[in-house]
Symmetry: C3
Subunit: 314 residues, 3 copies
């Protein structure tokens, strides 16, 4: 309960010990969900609590995950998933005031916004904990936490694993956030991207400063057999000069049965979803595919965070 | 509990025995609602369960009906009633993936979509039961179920009744769905429509194949006194070549006190709502008007379905 | 419980005794909220009840306040906060029919609409109590009730207080509604506004008819030291002929530390929020600033109303 009464704005708030302690709480949350789904037993850990979801940008899966997390814990939800268009205050009111006002009515706030730093602005005004559900190309800490939890759960550890990240590593919020947590675990990184979409130099430098090994390549087929974690991400057409350039890479970064045949038998495949075509449907039935399990883990991660900021022992 | 862990996509999943057994469960749900509304007693049949409503097309009354049904049973709800505009995934993600993802967070899904077959696509991906809340001009099984339940409840039986259907029988999803259930009960049908908006021939043929009598007319006044059930539906201006054509029929298909004076004293009037002007306000106070009661019955029908797909004995 | 099974459409429904009795109930609601927020104890006063929020115009804070109120009481919520755009029935269906239909699924309705009188139209059709959450420039009774409660709670009484109202008093719904309640308490009013935005003559006349003193001025600095209640409201640029005219008043109606230094030491500052720049941030930390506390009181006021229309003794 390190984060009692605190905002959760950034992955930087978590060090290695925090993460390991947190994972144990998430694991307990899986039990709570199971008892509800299988046993029809409603948990009461957050009874009496109200979550407000304020989404200034649509993201049904992230919002549902926060809301389901609160409901599974016995709390309740008030929700606006279209703040920019349906909140009369949007134009005139400061985010500080919005935070102050909403926090008089709810016990915790989950907020998404297209602009970097906006969640922090609202948090400054809020009298209750605010959890960052993504602020533009900035942070999305709960996504990174669920990625790491999925690794920890499936591999038994995070330390020393070889982590592959594939796709647009220059612009992707997801791989950047993952690195800011994984750096604590002495991992070996294999970054697979087109030349123009490489992982930013400052991140590579930071990983090395933390003692991690980093290698970079453009060739997924050549590198995949070393990976314990195959972290796929979208690669977007608009990042390339023309179709020819795009096609050159897009095709080679499609994870299919052929590539999976080369991968380690105990590797795991992650993807933040939604996918476009980076992962063939045929991989879905491969037991190493964990991208739908990640969604379940995301609910449990958010449940654990709610308990943490409320100071509820589990 | 024939439908435990199954999707409810079509009226074709129900035969006569299913319907009769189902009606008994719906009846019990009326008790549950009454105990909540009058006695302030919250049922717990679906405690711990979460419904996700995914509406790709607005329908406040249908969505509210599903949500109220789940809340009355002690379950909880996550909701997106504007999927097409507020779901970032809509453009890129397949309905299969959306179904897979949402079903990791909810225990049942109610979905409406403007395109025929789309609910089935999402259901294919879903790990939890999906209930069709209307897919374009395709199916809307819960509406047909509540129509039949309203008949059964008020008339004591469905078998052998004379069912009038009035309006645009060519394009109307409601009368088509009703026929697909009523065919099991040996009813006599009187179809009242303009020549160009007649009930499709294949439906008439099927009804006859099931042993039902069918007669067709353009004249409501002449036919109404034979009907046990007066099934009104909207008749839309845009189906006609010009105002003159439209006016010819629109006027004669307005149910008013004068027509009700000719109808059987124990007839019942149904309408899926919203009405435009097919039923005069003066009919609202006629005890034979059951179109607002249908809304209540719709909640109970959906409650019974939830219990059924969850395998909850009532 | 004067309002059992009644609609709450207007401040005119409340006389002095109603208000004083009502305030005592609101006070008890503060305890209920405290027990939930601090003690994690879920109240069950409205267990089994369902609130439908129908917002034909966005207002996140008002909607959240109604929804939180119902959730704090143990009830549940179905919600549409974008009725004009997402309700297919909006164009064709009368508000009477909408009221009739929704009231078959919910136990109470809170409705906001941009047009005066529309809430009353829906209420006519509804079989359950409808609470007006604002109908255009018409009524917004729950806002006025929370304003008065905030005065009563902080000053110990409303009777005989000197009430300042500052800003656009011609067009402001808030000061008009406040007057319709405050007139019962023999208050002294100081109206501060530009010449063209004065309180309508009929309201001034009515206040005097009820025995209240009224004075009017354009100068806030000169009048503020007499006020027990400093009621700030927005003053909108578009009400003025040009920027010069606007600037003349806008600037002098900004409440800042300098003005607060002149105000009574036991005065209180109210604002319906959102504010634009009528109140400097520096005033937020002044203990006399009660505009964020008003938000909390608004939840309790709505809780008390729910109990009242349901006839629930507290």
């Amino acid at each position: 309960m390190k984060f009692k009464d605190q905002h959760i704005l950034s992955t930087n708030q978590f060090d290695k010990n925090d993460l390991l302690a947190f994972f144990e709480v998430v694991k307990k949350m899986e039990k709570v969900v199971e008892e509800a789904v299988v046993g029809g037993k409603q948990a009461k850990l957050c009874e009496g609590k109200i979550l407000a979801t304020l989404f200034y940008e649509p993201s049904t899966r992230t919002r549902f995950s926060f809301e389901t997390a609160m409901l599974r814990l016995g709390g309740r939800v008030i929700s606006n998933f279209d703040m920019l268009k349906t909140s009369s205050a949007v134009k005139s009111e400061t985010l500080y005031d919005t935070g102050k006002v909403i926090s008089q009515m709810a016990d915790v706030i989950a907020m998404r916004h297209p602009e970097v730093g906006s969640v922090e602005k609202l948090a400054k005004g809020s009298d209750v904990p605010v959890i960052n559900a993504g602020d533009g190309i900035g942070e999305h800490p709960t996504q990174a936490l669920l990625d790491l939890y999925t690794i920890w759960k499936n591999k038994g550890t995070v330390s020393g694993l070889t982590i592959g990240m594939i796709g647009d590593l220059k612009n992707g919020r997801v791989p950047h956030s993952q690195c800011s947590l994984l750096k604590h675990f002495g991992c070996k990184f294999i970054f697979v991207s087109p030349e123009g979409l490489k992982m930013p130099e400052e991140i590579v430098t930071e990983l090395k400063a933390y003692g991690c090994e980093v290698s970079e390549t453009e060739d997924l087929a050549e590198a995949i057999d070393d990976m314990d974690v195959i972290g796929m991400t979208r690669i977007q057409r608009e990042r390339f000069a023309n179709d020819e350039e795009y096609g050159k890479y897009a095709g080679s970064y499609v994870l299919d049965a052929e590539l999976m045949a080369v991968a380690k038998t105990d590797a795991i495949v992650l993807h933040p979803l939604p996918r476009v075509d980076e992962i063939s449907d045929e991989v879905d039935s491969d037991p190493r595919a964990k991208y739908f399990e990640q969604v379940q883990n995301g609910v449990c991660v958010r449940m654990a965070l709610f308990c943490d900021v409320f100071g509820i022992a589990v």
